[in-house]
Symmetry: C3
């Protein structure tokens, strides 16, 4: 179910994109209760002027052109503690696997409902039980 | 009002992109009560590593590199039955017009409020009546 | 906190993209109570067939290939009056700085919660106070 939109710099390699995708998926399964195989990700590579962050940083965090924007749409219901664990797993994992600074891992979440998904075939696979 | 983000493989032709856009719009109008002419779509074409789906499939659905990700932001209030009819109309229509497998039609919905739109001119055209 | 996704035509210059980004950020700070330095934007440039709008216009507004799609994810809680002022500031500002028609400034908002953000470092900087 989650759809992860991942926006990175144009020169990001196949290997780094794959590693980021692996980490986001693993963090979903291990820290956020997402089912196995539920891995759907849309990556965009961007020219230099297309990833914008504050030059002076924000809330004490500073950024570089290697910033990774991750926006995830998933079902509502996860607790604050789960979301915290998810953020940490994503930043730690990306840093460990790619060397990208943890500060450059930026995450936004959008909560939706179970009926808001079709995983193919024109069906509502998560249809609520009546 | 709806904004449809449609993410497809880099080699998707002008004709196929147009057909997908037509189907999504027609399904909105015919199955989901969207007003005529309310057609706003942002398409992105992607390199092979930028559209990620589970190699083993999910919930019995399998995918190919021709997967089409469709994410729609629209106003809250549509019933589960309407959303089901919408999913079916989109997958059936894309398959009929482009030959893309129904399993490769992947849809995500985000519900927002009437005041969350400006259709140009700096105005809130759907401003709630006081 | 807000994430602004800005979708423009392929030929949009560095200068125009920067001006649009400046206007969106300034309108957030001045009209919508967003903190200073809280500027995060993801821009996408698009081929001609990738930005779709109704040929006959919608609700009396007409569009050109220079249409700018702006979709903002931010925290819930802004009033209708604030959103109206924000729409006006964005359209007026983009028109003044770039010459793009106000009608071609199209905006969509998505409200989320305070815990739905990590601004880097794997932390939930806006964690609700217990």
């Amino acid at each position: 179910m989650p759809l992860a939109r991942i926006d990175v710099a144009a020169e990001t390699s196949l290997e780094t994109v794959a590693a980021i995708g692996d980490v986001v998926y693993d963090a979903m399964v291990n820290a956020a209760g997402v089912p196995e195989h539920d891995r759907f990700q849309v990556i965009n590579r961007h020219a230099k002027d297309e990833l914008v962050y504050p030059a002076d940083g924000y809330l004490g965090v500073t950024y570089t052109p290697k910033i990774v924007f991750i926006q995830i749409t998933w079902n509502a219901g996860r607790t604050i503690e789960v979301k915290k664990a998810f953020y940490k797993a994503v930043a730690d994992g990306i840093n460990a696997k790619t060397g990208i600074r943890k500060e450059d891992v930026w995450i936004s979440l959008i909560d939706v409902k179970r009926e808001d998904w079709s995983f193919g075939n024109g069906e509502m696979q998560y249809a609520p039980v009546e």
